[in-house]
């Protein structure tokens, strides 16, 4: 392919937050008709670089160039005029507005000074069709699942008919089907000569989709080269700075006979009358398309939403916990998927985030010992390799490190059953490896893990058994021997096949 002039480029940009350098003299150039991968560990500075490119932040030094010309005052409206569209990692949607109104936000078609709903409907519909979003345009975004919202976010970017499309971890909350649609779409857009910048922690996606790669490590550029001739292992080496080990730990059965959780005819939210048994020492996966009720299963077990069951035994005591504190005292811990809203308190220091479950369990008026808390927190930070000053607010952490905090905070309670809701979403490979190893070690120590995941390889490589959920029921319980990505996807898609057959 003929290399052409870059549409958008950063030249030697640097950025620091409160004196902490996040980017050091980084350059990147986005060329038309090319999908450019931006890789790096959590906190490497990828999102920050994007914010510089899109005008949401201004560089401390260095320049942003559009069509070869340096822009002096870059801002979001400026970027939009230049044809730059960004799919943010943090959703930029407004829940109370409809899909169409969100897609057009900030760039509404006008007629007589009013929003031209006719034109909006037409253009939003076109954008939605591109990404396979078929919900009515009037649906408030708040009613959509996380994955669908991500699709709205992408449609919103496409609506602007961009010349440069920047996607920050677009697939982290998408189902396999949605990911496939997106992949095809990006290929098509590339063919139309759009410059695409693609950030993902899923290396297989990157290998399959991208032509060029820039790797960031600790805010500096460690590679800027075509992807041709690079292996996944090579990419990891560039990101991490050393040889990668296997992503998944060696699997040994540590399953015991003791029953950790057993429910019969369990119903909660979308889940209807399911039976599930989890043994101590095993990792049970929960798979299926996004939004089939998997989350309600975990929340119901956890006492966070109303649930009922014909029979329930959790850690040798019968009955479901009726609230979260009760669940905690019975050895359950839950790590939510939406870490920003459900997992952490972003405005609070990392140390208080790490200590919160302990605070919730301690006698309410017992005097706290700050020194001891710090010590515990430092231990957890060390164990989970959480980078960052523990006294700083959790919002200063990168996504992956936030996820580690959300998991680590339960450890002081020594839970015997971990309920995990997509714990590796948006987490870099190195951190994933650490989390996987921890989960297996956790199981090996005689505890139980229930792992809800949208990442099918994860289910295949980590789990003793996988329950596939469809329409609020467990449609298939795959034992270790039968586990394969194909088997899980087949079970998850069953409904669609039947419908096609009918």
């Amino acid at each position: 392919m003929v290399s052409s002039a870059p549409i958008l480029a950063a030249r030697g940009v640097s950025k620091a937050f409160f004196g902490n350098p996040v980017l050091r003299s980084v350059s990147i150039s986005l060329e038309p008709g090319r999908i450019h991968a931006l890789l790096g560990e959590n906190g490497a500075g990828k999102s920050t670089l994007i914010n510089l490119l899109s005008g949401a932040l201004r560089p401390d030094s260095g320049t942003i160039e559009i069509d070869g010309r340096a822009v002096s005052r870059h801002s979001p409206p400026e970027a939009r005029r230049a044809g730059i569209a960004v799919v943010q990692q943090e959703l930029s949607l407004t829940n109370s507005l409809s899909i169409a109104e969100n897609i057009g936000l900030g760039a509404y078609p006008r007629r007589f000074g009013l929003v031209d709903y006719a034109a909006l409907a037409a253009r939003a519909k076109a954008a939605c069709d591109l990404v396979g979003l078929h919900e009515p345009l009037a649906t408030p975004v708040g009613e959509l699942s996380l994955g669908r919202r991500q699709m709205v976010e992408i449609a919103k970017a496409l609506y602007r008919k961009p010349r440069v499309l920047i996607l920050d971890e677009p697939t982290s909350s998408l189902s396999a089907t949605e990911t496939r649609i997106l992949t095809a779409l990006l290929e098509k857009l590339r063919g139309e000569g759009i410059a695409i910048l693609y950030i993902s922690h899923r290396l297989d996606e990157v290998m399959q989709l991208c032509q060029h790669v820039t790797v960031l490590k600790d805010g500096t550029c460690t590679a800027d080269r075509p992807l041709e001739g690079v292996t996944a292992a090579g990419l990891v080496r560039l990101m991490v700075g050393r040889d990668p080990g296997d992503l998944f730990p060696r699997w040994d059965s540590t399953r015991t006979e003791r029953i950790a959780v057993s429910v019969g005819k369990f119903s909660a939210g979308l889940m209807q009358d399911v039976d599930l048994e989890v043994r101590a020492g095993e990792v049970v996966g929960i798979g299926g398309l996004v939004g089939q009720g998997q989350e309600d299963l975990l929340l119901g077990l956890y006492g966070a939403i109303p649930a009922r069951a014909a029979s329930a035994v959790i850690n040798d005591a019968s009955g479901l916990p009726s609230n979260v504190p009760q669940a905690n005292s019975r050895g359950l811990a839950y790590v939510p998927a939406d870490r920003k809203r459900e997992g952490l308190h972003l405005i609070h220091p990392i140390v208080t985030n790490l200590m919160l479950p302990s605070f919730a369990r301690m006698p309410a008026l017992k005097l706290r010992s700050r020194a001891k808390e710090r010590e515990t927190a430092m231990g957890l930070a060390l164990q989970f390799a959480i980078k960052g000053d523990l006294g700083r607010a959790a919002q200063a952490l990168s996504g992956g490190n936030q996820q580690k905090v959300a998991l680590a905070k339960w450890m002081p309670l020594d839970p015997s059953v971990l309920l995990l809701n997509d714990p590796t979403r948006g987490v870099d490979v190195e951190t994933k490896r650490e989390i996987y190893a921890m989960l297996r070690a956790f199981a090996a120590s005689g505890k139980a893990v229930v792992l809800l995941s949208s990442d099918t390889p994860e289910l295949v490589h980590l789990c003793d058994r996988v329950a596939v959920v469809r329409d609020g029921r467990i449609v298939s319980l795959l034992e270790r021997g039968d586990l394969s990505e194909e088997a899980i996807v087949a079970a998850a898609m069953g409904a669609e096949r039947e419908r096609q057959a009918a």
């Binding site: 930029s92 900030g106 009037a138």
Partner: protein, 323 residues
């Protein structure tokens, strides 16, 4: 191309009205409660359905409806105002001191509107640009504005031309007509890009800013419009009473919050609809008359009022959770 534009014109209706219909979902429970009160009122007071009965009823609702809208707009942007009552008073005394003077009715009305817009805009700039908490800025503002009202008219007095009083608050449902116009104007505003930005600017300001929404402008505009609605309510109160009173608006501050929250407007911005706030204000107003006709003693009035307010908020929530 022409085919596309024809079909898209047809779709205008469908998308716009479909969005509007979706917005009723959160407030349906409240609508039912309001309707029940409306029926009860009509049952207790048959004169409600005569021209003047309806006129008088809507007149007592009207100023509360305006201030509920004024508060709701601010709450949609994540703000709040404790200066609503003071602004109503200021609007009333300005109207009562200017309209019979050289400025005349038109000049007085213009002055009242300008003052409302101006004070609202200044408040908005202070809150938005200086990043100060709205609740205390407007608390401080309420003292300043109340002081100004006292300077304009140190004790109740002034006058409104009787024809204007009769026009706005006579035996015709003119107030209701004005309310309809105000609501239509609001719908029109919400259909402008700036107006629609209100929701995004309130709920997700960072995301909105990154999407190219003029967040600050949307919020400041909301404060200005809110100010205008308040002094407008003041003008109406002056017309309704035929005179000015520098403390007439005091109770509107808390009532406007009650009406807005009752109507499902959230405090975090971007949650709720104007129709909800209007229904909330209507409920508050209806409640007073219905309790009168039921012959409640003052003690019972206080207790029932508390229960109705809690019930109107709690019961729909329970129904939602049950579902």
């Amino acid at each position: 191309m022409s085919h596309a534009s024809v079909s898209s014109t047809a779709r205008f209706g469908s998308l716009y009205w479909a969005i509007q219909a979706k917005r009723n979902i959160g407030v349906r429970g409240l609508f039912v409660v309001v309707l029940a009160f409306m029926v009860a009122y009509g049952f207790l007071f048959h004169g409600l359905f005569t021209g003047s009965g309806f006129a008088k009823f809507t007149q007592s609702w009207f100023p509360l409806a305006l201030v509920a809208m004024a508060q709701a707009i601010l709450m949609l942007t994540g703000g709040i105002s404790l200066a609503i009552g003071a602004l109503v008073s200021l609007g009333a005394v300005l109207a009562a001191t200017t309209m019979t003077g050289p400025l005349g009715v038109a000049g007085g009305a213009a002055l009242v509107s300008l003052v409302g817009l101006g004070i609202g805009a200044v408040t908005g700039v202070i809150v938005v640009k200086l990043r100060l908490p709205a609740i205390v800025v407007t608390l401080a503002g309420s003292f300043i504005i109340a002081g100004a009202a006292l300077l304009v008219l140190p004790r109740p007095g002034g006058a409104i031309p009787p024809w204007l009083s009769d026009l706005l608050a006579g035996n015709t449902p003119a107030a209701f007509g004005v309310l309809v116009v105000v609501v239509l104007l609001w719908k029109l505003y919400l259909a402008t890009p700036l107006g629609l930005s209100l929701y995004a600017a309130g709920e997700n300001p960072v995301g909105a800013y990154r999407s190219g929404v003029p967040v600050d402008a949307a919020r400041i505009a909301a404060y200005a419009i809110s100010g205008l609605l308040c002094t407008g309510a003041g003008l109406f109160v002056a017309a309704q009473t035929g005179s000015g009173d520098p403390i007439i608006g005091n109770s509107f501050t808390l009532n406007s919050i009650a009406a807005a929250v009752l109507g499902g407007i959230g405090f975090l911005g971007g949650q709720g609809t104007m129709r909800g706030a209007l229904a909330g204000s209507l409920l508050l107003s209806l409640m007073i008359s219905v309790m009168f006709f039921l012959g409640f003693t003052p003690v019972a009035q206080y207790v029932a009022q508390g229960l109705i307010i809690i019930g109107a908020v709690a019961i729909p929530q329970f129904r939602m959770r049950a579902r």
